[in-house]
Symmetry: C2
C-alpha cells in the first residue's frame, strides 16, 4: 500500500489491541474512573494454512471482544449475584488431567472453590451462557473448559473456553481470558507512554526521596560538551542510586556513571550536597488487569444452525429450522390461499400492520399448494405463517389463520389482532399455548 505501493500492510489477528492502545482515551471517556469495559466488533485475520469446516476455520472472520479493566486487587463484579446460581458444565484443568468428566457446578461454587480464578471471569461465563440460551443454542451441548497450564497463552493467568458441540465435535466459540496486566504493561514499555490508572490511597504511602545539588561549573569544566547529558543522568537517579552515589563519594571520593556507553568519573568536588527526605503520597499508579471474553461470531452462528436444524417426525424429507423469532431471518410469512385478485387487499392490510409493528415478513404467493408453502417457510426457519383463505373473504370482521412453526398448530383470529398477537409472542408476553387456549385450535379447510 502507500503512494509507491511498496509498504507492506498488516491485518490484525484480534480486535483487542485497538482497545488497549486507546486505553487512556477510554479511561478519560469514563471520567477517569475504574473499573470499566470497552467492546469492539470487527473482522480479524489469520493466515490459516487450509481454511475448512464451514465457518469454523476461516482466514477472515468476525470477532467481538469485551475488555473489562479492573484493579488487580478488586476482581469483583457487582452483578455477579445475578448469575451466581446458574449451574453449568465446567471442565476444569485438574478434572481434565485426572481423566474425569466435566461436572455441573454453580458459578458461586466454582468461584468459592477457586475453580474459576475470580468472579468477573465467572460473571462473563454466566452472561455468555444466558446469551447462548437466548439465541437458541442447545445448552446440553455447551461446556466451559479451562485451559491446561501448558496451553494457556503466555499473557494469561486463567483461561476458559466456551465449547459448543456440533458436527465437528467440541468447538471453541467464546474464549474467556484473565490477561492480567500483560497488554497494558507491554504497550507502555514499547511506546514509552504509560497506560496506567490511578487510585486514591486512604492511608498515604511514604516514599523515600532525595535531592542532589551539583556544582555545574566543575562538571562543565571537566566534561565539556558531555556535561548536559551528565546533569540529566544525575538528576534522574533512583533513590537507591543516590544512596550509592553518596556512599561512594564519602568512602572513595569517586563514583562512576555510564552515559551513552561512555564512563565518567564523578568526584566529591562536583557534588555540593545530597539530601534525603520522606514524602507522603495519596495517589498511586497501577496497571489495570483485563478480563476478556472474546466471541467468534461465525462459530456461534454455525453452531446455532447445527442446533436448530430439525426433521419432521412424520416425514424425514421435511427439514425445518427452529429459530427463535429474535434470530429468524424472517418472522412471518404471509400466504394467500391462491392467486385470486380478491385476496390482495387483505394481504396489503396485513403487511402494513406487520411493518408498523416492526415485524419482518415475506409474502409467498407462488403457485404452490399451501402445504408446500408452509414447508418452505419452515425450511427457512420462519416462526409464523398467516394465511388468507376463502373464509377471510366472507367473515366480518375479516379473519385469517395463524400457524406456529414448532407445533404446526393453527388458530383463527381477526386481521386487526394479528400483529399484536405476533408481537406478544416475540416479546414472550404470551406463550403459544396460551394463545391457543384463548383462540382455540383451528382445523379448517386449510390443511398443512
Amino acid at each position: 500500500i502507500g503512494p509507491t505501493a511498496c509498504l507492506p500492510g498488516f491485518l490484525r489477528p484480534e480486535t483487542a489491541q485497538g482497545i488497549f492502545v486507546n486505553f487512556k482515551r477510554l479511561l478519560e471517556f469514563n471520567n477517569n474512573r475504574m473499573p470499566f469495559a470497552a467492546t469492539q466488533i470487527g473482522f480479524s485475520f489469520r493466515n490459516e494454512i487450509s481454511p475448512r469446516s464451514g465457518l469454523l476455520r476461516c482466514r477472515e472472520f468476525l470477532m467481538a471482544e469485551i475488555e473489562h479493566f479492573i484493579h488487580p486487587a478488586k476482581k469483583f463484579h457487582p452483578k455477579f449475584k445475578n448469575v451466581a446460581n446458574i449451574a453449568l458444565k465446567l471442565f476444569s484443568a485438574s478434572d481434565q488431567l485426572n481423566n474425569l468428566t466435566p461436572c455441573i457446578t454453580t458459578l458461586q461454587t466454582a468461584v468459592d472453590k477457586q475453580i474459576i480464578a475470580n468472579n468477573v471471569l465467572a460473571y462473563y461465563i454466566g452472561r455468555v451462557y444466558l446469551f447462548l440460551q437466548k439465541i437458541g443454542i442447545d445448552l446440553e451441548r455447551v461446556r466451559f473448559r479451562q485451559h491446561l497450564p501448558q496451553e494457556m497463552a503466555h499473557y494469561a493467568c486463567d483461561c476458559w473456553d466456551c465449547e459448543i458441540h456440533a458436527y465437528h465435535g467440541w468447538v471453541e466459540c467464546v474464549g474467556f481470558a484473565d490477561r492480567a496486566c500483560y497488554d497494558l504493561s507491554q504497550h507502555s514499555k514499547e511506546s514509552g507512554s504509560k497506560l496506567v490508572a490511578y487510585e486514591q490511597l486512604l492511608k498515604p504511602d511514604v516514599i523515600q526521596t532525595h535531592e542532589i545539588i551539583l556544582d555545574k561549573a566543575a562538571i562543565g569544566k571537566q566534561f565539556g560538551s558531555d556535561s548536559k547529558q551528565i546533569f540529566s543522568h544525575l538528576e534522574s537517579l533512583s533513590n537507591e542510586q543516590a544512596i550509592e552515589l553518596e556512599t561512594n563519594l564519602k568512602n572513595n571520593n569517586e563514583f562512576h556513571i555510564t552515559v551513552d556507553g561512555k564512563i565518567f568519573t564523578i568526584i566529591n568536588q562536583m557534588v555540593k550536597k545530597v539530601t534525603f527526605s520522606k514524602k507522603e503520597v495519596f495517589v498511586k499508579e497501577y496497571f489495570p488487569h483485563v478480563i476478556e471474553p472474546s466471541f467468534g461470531i461465525g462459530r456461534i452462528l454455525y453452531s446455532l444452525l447445527a442446533h436448530s436444524c430439525m426433521v419432521r417426525e412424520q416425514d424425514e424429507q421435511r427439514i425445518w429450522f427452529k429459530f427463535d423469532p429474535i434470530v429468524a431471518p424472517t418472522t412471518c410469512v404471509v400466504l394467500p390461499l391462491s392467486n385470486k385478485e380478491e385476496f390482495q387487499p387483505y394481504i396489503q392490510s396485513i403487511v402494513e400492520k406487520l411493518a408498523r409493528h416492526n415485524i419482518s415478513y415475506k409474502v409467498d404467493d407462488l403457485n404452490a399448494s399451501i402445504g408446500k408453502r408452509y414447508a418452505r417457510g419452515d425450511e427457512l426457519g420462519t416462526p409464523f405463517a398467516i394465511t388468507v383463505d376463502f373464509d377471510t373473504l366472507t367473515s366480518d370482521p375479516a379473519t385469517v389463520t395463524l400457524r406456529e412453526r414448532n407445533t404446526t398448530e393453527q388458530i383463527r383470529l381477526q386481521v386487526q389482532d394479528i400483529a399484536q398477537v405476533i408481537k406478544d409472542l416475540i416479546d414472550q408476553n404470551h406463550k403459544w399455548m396460551e394463545i391457543v387456549e384463548k383462540y382455540k385450535l383451528f382445523k379448517g379447510q386449510v390443511s398443512s
Copy 2:
C-alpha cells in the same frame, strides 16, 4: 497469504461485486422473481495516496450498497408515488454545463422532464433524502448533482451524487448509478456462467432453429483425434452459421471452420443433412439492469457531526451536539445533585426503568456542579438529563427533573413516569413543547 505466504491478497474496492457474482442465488432466494434488491454493508479499500480530511478520504472505509435488479424495459418502482412530491435541490448535468445554479424540483417533475433517467433512480434519491432528514442532516446543505457525461463511469447510463456541504465544501456522500446490465453481462462473459433472468412472453417469439446430422465416421477418418472438437463446434453453430454452412457446401462443396486456431475443411460427404425449422418460445432470457445507491457511511457520519455541532448563544465556549435521540450515543444522563448516599436508591430505580425501556443512559455522579455536568452531557450530544435533587427525597411520590438539551428547559415529574415520557419523545409520539405544556416549566433550585 496461503501456506507459503506467497500468494498476493486483494482487498475489494466496493462491496457491489459480491452481490453480482451471487446473482443467481439471490434470484432463486426471491423465488426466481424479478424485480428484487440485495443490500450489503462492509469495509472497502482504496489505495489513497494521501489519506486525509478526517473520515472523508481513508484507505479503509465502511460502505453500504443496495443493488436493485430490474427488467430493462420496466424501470418503475411501485412506491415511487410515496416520494414523488418531495422537492429537493437538483443540479443536472445541463445546468452545470450552462453555468446555472441547482434548482429545486419535485422528483415527479424531474422524472417527467427526464432530468432523472427513471423513477427507480428517483425513488432512491427520495428515500435517501428522507433518511438524511431522519438522522439530522441539515437539508439546506444537501444537493443532488448529476455526473457530467465525461465523468460518468464507463458502466453507467445515469449517475447522481448526493453531496453534503460541510467543512470541506460539497462532498459526495451517496452515489446513485444506473449501471445498466454492465456487471452481470461482464461476469457472464468472463465466467461462462449466465447471470440472467427469464421472462414469460405473452405472445411467443418465433425463432429460427436448425439440426445438422453429421457423418461422424467420415469426419473421424479424416481428422482423427481432432474429431471430437469438430463435432461439438458444428453442433453449436448459430442459425446464421448453419445457413452459411449449407450454402457453402451446396455451392463450393466445402466449408472452413476454425477450432482452437486450426483450420479444418468440411466437405459434402461429412454432413448428411441440414434441416431448418421455426420454433415458438414463451420464455426469454435477459440481463437485468441494476440501480445502485451506494453509501459512504464514514462521510455521512462526518457530515452529521459537522451539521450537529452547535455553540450556545450566551457562551461561545459551550459547544453542544444536537443529535436526534435515534443517533445520539447516549439517550439520557442521570445526575444526582450531589454524592449524598440518600440519592442512590432513586438513581437505581431510574436506571432500571430506563434499561427496561431500552433507553441508553449514563450516570454522571462526579464531583462537579450540576451546570457543568449538564454542559458535559450537551457536549456529548445527550438529548435528556434526569436530575435527582433534594425535592426528590421529600416529595411523595418521588419526583425528579427532566431537562431537554436543545431548549435547556426543564420539567418536574414523577419517577414512575420518566421512562415512558422519554420513550414517547424518542418515538415522536409527543413533542417536547407538548410535554412542557402538560407538566409546566420547572425553574427550581437546580440551575443550569
